[in-house]
Amino acid sequence: MSAFRDRVEGERAYLLRYATLQLRDSAAAEDAVQETLLAALAGEAGFGGRSNLRTWLTGILKHKIVDAVRRMTRETALGSGGDEGSADFDALFDERGHWIDMPQAWPDPDASLTQKQFFAVLEECLAKLPAKTSRAFMMREHMGFETTEICKELAVTPTHVWVLLHRARLALRMCLEMNWFTGSK
């Protein structure tokens, strides 16, 4: 009985890192993890050893994260603003719309997918994005939401979601190119 509790508790640090990455708010992340652990302990029978414990817990946590995003969206809906506008990607192109720094070819990017250090760099790059941009991007690319679902959760229009996602991709590719794919590897 308490062996299960210990195993669940042992995943706390991992879950907290995962939630913090997505919510960008340590108090909200703590809450989501706490709710997850409680739900897990109450629903031990649902686990039944049929899958990997971490995978099962992460599945519960994803629902808690979506709930938290919903709450945050409601709370900030009035005073939104923040990461709007497109000035940031205007700076990447000249007045005729050409790249100022053309994206370079990355040598064997797939090899990076087996390297822990690569994912640490990717997480650092994600952490530098504005909160709403990062949230939209995580929902789309990590959690696999459709644009329409992201619109609903973040209370924004489809056009705005595309702007957020495009901004995230431009920023991340640049960050990875500078911090991983050139030189320092």
């Binding site: 990997n52 719309g97 053309m102 690319e141 696999g144 595309w162 996602l165 431009l170």
Partner: protein, 62 residues
């Protein structure tokens, strides 16, 4: 009508989130045929998608 890199990269990105129209796809293909920067961008956002799915993967699986 030629796309600029700014417009092409925007369409490449949107192509991952919605179905592009026929005209958009044709203009992109023409642009990619002559632009290495945007071709690299296209490969990189596809790679980014692959990497994001594996982000925070359970190390026990690999």
């Amino acid at each position: 009508m030629m796309l600029s890199c700014k417009e092409a990269s925007r369409l490449l990105s949107q192509g991952l989130d919605r179905k592009l129209g026929f005209g958009e796809r044709v203009m992109l293909r023409v642009h990619l045929g002559i632009c290495d920067g945007c071709t690299n961008f296209r490969d990189q956002v596809a790679f980014l998608r692959k990497a994001m799915v594996r982000l925070a993967d359970d190390p026990a699986k690999s």
